[in-house]
Amino acid sequence: MTTPDDNTAIDVRDFYFRIGGKEILRNVSFSVMRGEYVAIVGPNGAGKTTLLKCLDRILTGGTGRIEIFGRPLGRYRQKELARRVSYVPQADGHVSPFTVEQFVLMGRYPHLSPFSTVGRHDRQLVREVLKQTGTAEFADRPLGTLSGGERQKVFIAAALAQGADVLLLDEPTTVLDYHHEAEVRALLAAANKRSGVTIVNVTHDLNHAVLESDRVVALREGAVVFDGPPSNIMKTDVLRRIYETPLLLVDHPQATIPVIVPRIPLETTP
């Protein structure tokens, strides 16, 4: 599969990326189809976040080829790229002084021409996105006053308001409790299934990854070590190769794919 067809959203070929002489990504090749839900997994420091940032040109440089909808990444103006690809960063302590609505409205930036300002159409669209994502109730609150879960939903809302075909997410559920985690996962599934948004989700939670994605790509030390359907990665030997630690698999009561359960510490059962 070397020639990308019309249905390819993202195509990465032989991509290398270095930061300060250290090779972060090595010979990465994979592609994402239009409307697909792809999870990128792997141990800490495998290069997942770097890869995601390269796809949205937040990090530049690197050798190899990245194409977005059949067009080389370098040929996009940043505004054009933002109309096709949006990004939800990893949660950090950043406090923005804006209210939720102001923040989500800023997602419309790539659709504004110089001197123009947000119009009625943009406001209408943002109101719908706020409703869809369950963030309308705190639309007037400043971002700094939100809880981690609320904040994450707002960041996703802002990315959706951008109206891009592809949504890149960096650990969107890592810092959330069970309730908010379920909400965010339902939100992403709805965006993917109902609105046809292509999703690339970086996560280190393999259980979630296999249950919600169409395909899983695993990175280890900057290289792709697995690329295939979720059912193929949940095998003891495959997992051992990726994570270098023996993992315990059990059957899922709902799904046909087994899931990982934590071992009891210090008790090394064979």
Binding site: I19, I24, N44, G45, A46, G47, K48, T49, T50, K53, D56, R57, I58, R77, Q78, K79, E80, L81, A82, R83, V85, S86, Y87, P89, Q90, D92, G93, H94, V95, S96, P97, F98, Q102, F103, M106, G107, Y109, P110, L112, P114, F115, T117, A159, Q162
Partner: protein
């Protein structure tokens, strides 16, 4: 619309202050001397050749310094970033002093109405911004501590270079430099100086006014701004350029006037909120009016002795700075990270 109303109030306030300030002074002068045929010539001269140009200069300087401060605060995502804490004003001073020392005079600049001192002050401020930005950047992330330390260190370094140049100069040069470094608005006579600062300050302000959407986005973080479609590197270069134009233009004529760039944007943020589409014009109006008021106090408070306006702004600004430092708002926000 609440913000529109606040903006209107600020506009009216600015007009009232700018129109009223020239009439106040050691001698109260009625406005009609400007057009009455039988008016006293001395009064006319005081009003037209001294007070009005001075108020115009104060307004221009206040607007430019406040807008530059607001721009730095957005770019460094740090409430304590101002032309002075970043050492940019000292950079501009150094540029101007070098120009005085070397006796440079660029004929080509006179054609576009910009003095050589302004050009050198602009060069000095641009150099300093890039230096502080580079230093803060090299330490990965814009922590308040790194930024302030870099700014203070550069300030001291440039101040000693200025002293060194004064030491090397002959008496006539030294006198001109000293008078200049003292700064203030009291040597503005006629509209010549105002017209000299005008192109730099106005073009800087216009650039910032044009980029208000981008300023909003950059306060949410550089990565997020990029993902929303902002060409962050180009934006930063443009804003550094604009801010340096404004600071350089003002400092070249008024010398260092501190704290306007710190206080005006913060007070406006409290009044009108963080949205730069409203905050920028508000800061412009408030900064201008604020410096006009400070200058009016400076020249009437101990009349006939005139205080340098910098004393008034510093007396207000010092405590304000400490209050900011102690308040929650001064915590470093949004450290950019380079994760994997």
């Amino acid at each position: 619309m609440k913000q529109g109303f606040v903006l209107l109030v600020l506009f009216v306030l600015a007009v009232v202050v700018a129109a009223g300030a020239p009439l106040v002074g050691i001698e109260r002068i009625p406005i009609d001397v400007l057009w009455r045929a039988d008016a006293d010539q001395t009064q006319f001269d005081i009003l037209w050749r001294i007070r009005i140009p001075r108020v115009a200069m104060a307004f221009l300087a206040g607007s430019a310094l406040a807008t530059a401060g607001m721009t730095f605060q957005a770019m460094f995502r740090n409430p304590l970033a101002t032309p002075f804490t970043l050492g940019v004003a000292s950079g501009a001073s150094l540029g101007a002093v070098v120009c005085l020392h070397q006796g440079w005079s660029f004929a080509c600049l006179r054609w576009v109405g910009i003095s050589s001192i302004s050009a050198c002050a602009f060069g000095g401020s641009l150099m300093t911004v890039l230096l502080v930005y580079g230093l803060t950047r090299a330490r990965r992330g814009f922590s308040t501590a790194t930024m302030l330390l870099a700014g203070v260190a550069i300030s001291f370094f440039f101040s000693s270079l200025i002293l060194f140049l004064q030491y090397l100069s002959d008496l006539a040069q030294m006198f001109r430099m000293l008078r200049w470094v003292m700064g203030g608005l009291d040597n503005v006579v006629g509209f010549h100086d105002v017209l000299n600062v005008l192109p730099l300050a106005v073009s800087g302000c216009l650039i910032v006014l044009y980029l208000t959407h981008e300023l909003n986005l950059i306060t949410t973080g550089e990565e997020l701004a990029t993902s929303r479609g902002v060409e962050v590197n180009r934006l930063k270069k443009t804003l550094f350029f604009a801010a340096s134009l404004m600071v350089g233009g003002v400092v070249a004529f008024c010398g260092p006037i501190g704290f306007v760039g710190l206080m005006a944007p913060h007070i406006c943020r409290l009044l009108i909120g963080p949205d730069h589409r409203y905050l920028t014009p508000a800061t412009l109006l408030f900064g201008g009016a604020f410096l006009v008021v400070c200058d009016t106090v400076a020249r009437t408070f101990m009349a006939p002795t005139e205080l340098p306006v910098g004393i008034i702004t510093a007396l207000l600004g010092g405590p304000f700075f400490i209050w900011l430092l102690l308040s929650r708002a001064s915590e470093p926000v949004g450290e950019p990270r380079l994760g994997t």
